[in-house]
Amino acid sequence: MVEQITMAFINGILLGGVLALLAFGLNLIFGVVKIIHMAYGQFVMLGFYLIYSFHATMGVPLPAAMALGVLSMAILGIFTQLLLIRPLLKAPRLNQLLALASLIIVVENVAMMIWGADYRGIPLALPIIQVGEVFIRSSYLMAFVGAIVVLGLLYVFLNRTYLGLAIRAVAQDLEMAQGMGINPATVYYVTLAAGGALTGIVAAFFVPIYTVHPHFGSSFTIMAFVIVVLGGMGNLLGGFISAFIIGVATSITAVVYSTEVADILALVVFVLVMLIRPQGLLGVRA
């Protein structure tokens, strides 16, 4: 049992890294554009299918298929901004939420039309690493390392470049950012492109771990949303920390009880945060 829980803890940390990356995109979009991208997990699903099609159907080598998947999702992010979010920027919150939520139905049904309801996956035989009594799947480890590297790059981008600074400035004070000569439209497109690319990257990390089906995304939308709320909406550091909390908590619960209970746990955490500390762990009360 001790080994099992140790393993679950390690898996939770590894999964937490990928969840942190997933939540980062959702958080960034919320922080900058002030919109909740309800179909974020569904975009991961779409990215997964695209990688699958590029590789399994069109015969593109897997690394190139993954790169193409990331690129496609970035472009899709730009189109989401152009066709859906931009026209609704000044609309009431509820309208924005409903429009993005309806995107879930659109994306899931498009996936159903194109790829059908069957589970699709790319079989990869990746080794399992043994450390003493503990077994670690190398697919998890690669996903974790990859996610941390991408998060590091994002950190450098947001802190060291003019464009990154502009994104943070718009997130904090749109009007003043405009006064500094920052064109918000550019920042919004870059943010949605980055958010889209992140769904593609997360999908690429999921390829060796999961198989995909049209409803694959919904649990990740919820997971990402729970993490973002737990950390404090728009707070990138808070999201990073809570991704690991959620990752470990669900992973250990899945071992001790079952994966179903683990899924419930995430939502229970969400409800508790809403009741006790609605601004999140590191959030500032508005």
């Binding site: 904090q172 004070d173 009007e175 003043m176 405009q178 006064g179 000569g181 920052i182």
Partner: protein, 234 residues
């Protein structure tokens, strides 16, 4: 350099500015004084494109700017120092300054601008890694002024720089405004503190309830009996 002609600005149905006409010439410091709610901030926001004029025009160096978005106006060389030292609270002091040099014309001079600014404001150099939100009111005002200088502006719009500051800090802020004036920047300063503002003014306007009610140079303001009693407390 800056020509505001018969500008009307509305908030919904409320007319915040009515037929306002002002001029700022090269190297000139122009002030607009008036009570709280007279439309002073509205005027500055109208000039820098954050609010749109319903009537009238704004020209900057003979180019019409009231039709342009705020970020384009900033690129032309107009910098706003917003009310209350409104800086980006979760960016470091250094990043706040860096974002000041966002526009193309300022970026290539960013390094030398940093050196100049840190020399001029040693306190900002000391606090460069600190979050701007943790600064005192006076320091935040300094940072907002310094940030505007980072953009290498031709015209600086200052919105109530003395608001909410202790008298000693107000003196310090006006020392910097004097320095900027000596450096040759064109300045448009709106202030409730008419006494202080008049000391740096080449030309002044009095704004009340959205309308300009008096204009003139410092002597003319000092001699006007109404302004003397209502604004200068003499």
């Amino acid at each position: 350099m800056l020509a505001v002609d018969s500008v009307d600005v509305f908030y919904g149905e409320f007319r915040a500015l009515e037929q306002v006409t002002i001029r700022v010439e090269r190297q000139q410091t122009v002030i607009v004084v008036g009570p709280n709610g007279a439309g002073k901030s509205t005027l500055l926001r109208g000039i820098c494109g954050l609010l749109k004029a319903r009537e009238g025009t704004v020209h900057f160096r003979d180019q019409r700017i009231d039709t342009l978005p705020a970020h384009t106006v900033a690129e032309l060389g107009i910098a706003l120092v917003p009310e209350g030292g409104r800086v980006f609270p979760y960016l470091s002091v250094e990043d706040n300054l860096k974002i000041g040099s966002y526009i193309k014309r300022a970026r290539k001079h960013a390094q030398e601008s940093f050196n100049t600014i840190y020399e001029l404001f040693p306190i900002l150099a000391q606090r460069r890694r600190q979050m701007a939100g943790s600064l005192s009111g006076g320091e935040r005002q300094m940072l907002a002024i310094a940030r505007s200088l980072m953009s290498k502006p031709d015209l600086i719009l200052l919105d109530e720089p003395s608001l909410g500051l202790a008298p000693l800090v107000v003196d310090l802020v006006f020392e910097f405004i004097k320095k900027m004036k000596e450096e040759g920047y064109a300045i448009l300063l709106v202030e409730q503190n008419a006494n202080k503002a008049l000391q740096v003014a080449d030309y002044a306007y009095l704004l009340e309830s959205g309308k300009l009610v008096f204009e003139g140079n410092r002597e003319q303001f000092d001699r006007n009996p109404y302004i003397k009693t209502a604004y200068l407390g003499l």
